[in-house]
């Protein structure tokens, strides 16, 4: 049997519409249950406001569910989204270290990877400069390369299959697709159904915060393009 990487059990998340004691609660996710097994790629599909990004936040552990449980089985999880999580005052290199430590890697492990991260980001000349001197594209490259090269058990990708300028976008897009096709466990969120069908083993269709369907590869044709 395949090893479980993560398991969600009846997870619900709601927001209070206002920061007051008796204000209404708006439900974002309702009764979400599914398991993620190692080496598989799960696509999450849904319109705007279906709860895709919130679902990733919950899986990443940065947001606690209001009810239900998440079991991570000790897996390390990295979230790739437009939010970079860099400290502007630190240099590029220090940021790589910081991010690695946050993700639970040991300094020795990061040291081993650091050259390949710098090489992949193509930021060698700037890596010792503080990050506030970087352009937004350079920051995106740094964030992407760090998460890409450090091998976490699970990668969560939020609508971001490539960053930076045209050259780097193509390169990161290609690299990520290779990674998805390899043994990496991935949860992939996208509007682009064609891409999802191409890359995923299973697709979860979210609608209004609920799981409408979990489709295996054979039933992908049920989703209209």
């Amino acid at each position: 049997m395949k090893k479980k990487v993560l398991s969600l059990n009846a997870v619900s998340v709601g927001y209070k519409t206002r920061n007051r004691p008796f204000s209404k609660t708006k439900t974002i996710l309702k009764d979400i249950s599914f398991d993620i097994f190692s080496h598989e790629t799960i696509g999450v599909y849904g319109g705007n406001g279906a709860g895709k990004s919130t679902l990733l936040s919950v899986i990443a552990g940065v947001m606690a569910p209001d009810s239900g449980q998440i079991e991570t089985f000790g897996s390390t999880i990295a979230l790739l989204n437009l939010n970079l999580g860099l400290d502007n005052a630190l240099s590029g290199k220090q940021n790589i270290f910081l991010h690695g430590l946050f993700l639970g890697f040991k300094p020795s492990e990061i040291k081993k990877k650091i050259d390949s991260i710098i090489h992949f980001s193509e930021l060698k000349e700037f890596i010792d400069e503080p990050v506030y001197t970087y352009s937004s594209g350079m920051k995106a490259r740094l964030g992407f390369s760090t998460v890409y090269q450090l091998n976490t058990d699970l990668i969560l990708i939020d609508e971001m299959l490539g960053v930076g300028d045209q050259h780097f976008k193509r390169k990161s897009n290609y690299a990520l697709k290779q990674k998805i096709k390899s043994n990496q466990t991935v949860v992939l969120v996208s509007h682009n159904i064609k891409q999802l069908k191409h890359l995923s083993d299973r697709i979860i269709v979210l609608e209004g915060g609920k799981i409408k369907d979990i489709l295996s590869a054979a039933k992908f044709d049920l989703i209209p393009e």
Binding site: A60, G61, V62, A64, L79, G85
Partner: protein, 220 residues
């Protein structure tokens, strides 16, 4: 800055005590340490949305960074202060052994305040204005710019209710021979350390409870 305070309070307001320059210098240095640490940690969680939305991390990390940064900066200022005070006084008293202890107690107190308010402020950002006001009030009530003898006797006796004033008084006793550290002071410092540690423990537990709600609040 120190010079301005000195001129205003000594010449214009006619406050004269012996060693008044030292008095202000010592009080201000340690007050600034506390004030800067608390101030920079208040918004530390609010400003770390980028990290919070990406990585599951103990939220007290952010005020810790703020306090630590100001600790290093202030230790430099304090070292300079000690050198100045020792050179101008031409002597070192055995009372200096108390200095590290008082410093640790102040650090504990600072961390307790910083942790507590940095956890609470994201829930109600307006609270920050209130904390600023209270800090200002504490500053004027802590006998930084005027000799403690100017305070009414009632307040002098109850100084222990204002930990900052008490700590500053200890520093002055140690550094400019404004008295000796008594058994009562030791008892009080110990009490302050214990209360501060209890508050820190409480904030650690509080973080476990509410730590994962910050993303929701910050996204609003």
């Amino acid at each position: 800055m120190m010079l301005i305070y000195y001129i205003v309070f000594s010449s214009f307001l006619n406050i004269r005590t012996e060693n008044f320059a030292f008095y202000i210098l010592v009080s201000l240095t340690f007050w600034q340490w506390f004030h800067k640490s608390v101030n920079s940690s208040l918004n530390s969680i609010n400003q770390s949305g980028g990290f919070i939305s990406k990585i599951n991390i103990n939220k007290l990390f952010f005020p810790t960074v703020a306090v630590y940064t100001d600790l290093i900066k202030s230790l430099v200022a304090i070292s300079v202060l000690i050198v100045v005070v020792v050179t101008l006084n031409h002597s070192v008293s055995w009372q200096y052994v108390w200095l590290p202890i008082v410093l640790v107690v102040q650090l504990l107190f600072t961390v307790a305040i910083a942790y507590f308010f940095s956890l609470i402020i994201p829930f109600s950002p307006d609270l920050r204005v209130l904390v600023d006001l209270v800090l200002r009030g504490v500053m004027f009530a802590s006998a930084i710019f005027y000799p403690i003898e100017n305070l009414p006797e009632f307040i002098q006796e109850n100084l222990c209710y204002n930990p900052i004033a008490y700590l500053l008084d200890c520093y002055r006793k140690i550094l400019i021979f404004d008295g000796v550290i008594t058994l009562r002071d030791i008892y009080y410092l110990g009490l302050l350390a214990i209360v501060s540690t209890a508050v820190i423990m409480f904030t650690l537990l509080l973080e476990k409870k509410v730590g994962n709600f910050y993303l929701k609040i910050l996204m609003k």
